[in-house]
Symmetry: C2
Subunit: 83 residues, 2 copies
């Protein structure tokens, strides 16, 4: 069965985010009032697995081994079956 | 009132995603069966607005003017009031 995974990888709160700070300053120059901008990654992929549990386990391994850096990032994901 | 916006910016389906392809090939080398990997951005920010509608309008403008490139990207967002 095929599944679609939507993964969000974000920096841990204690890690500085210079890109987010730059965006925050750019928004301020455009007269918007945004504060504490943080920029992360959003990854969508499709995978084959025999059941929901296997799909989630597989995505967890992908995140731990490649998609996220566990030292500075955290991740969360949703796995949904494809028709 | 303060609001938190969670914005997801993704490439339009017709736009090539070389980074996604690279990740897909790396996952294949690690014996995972992922297909069609697409990589986008996830942006979290806080903003002040008088009501939900104003907050959503403000985030839409930020996305259109700075956070997303409407030629090659689409975006979606959730706005939630902060306590």
């Amino acid at each position: 069965m095929n599944y679609k995974a939507a993964i969000t990888v974000t920096l841990r709160p204690s890690v500085l985010d210079p890109a987010g700070t730059a965006v925050c300053e750019a928004l301020a120059q455009m007269d918007y009032t945004a504060t504490s901008v943080r920029i992360g990654k959003y990854i969508e992929l499709e995978l084959a697995a025999s059941c929901d549990t296997e799909a989630k386990e597989c995505v967890t391994q992908m995140c731990d081994r490649l998609l996220a850096n566990p030292v500075i990032e955290t991740y969360r994901f949703d796995v949904t079956p494809l028709p």
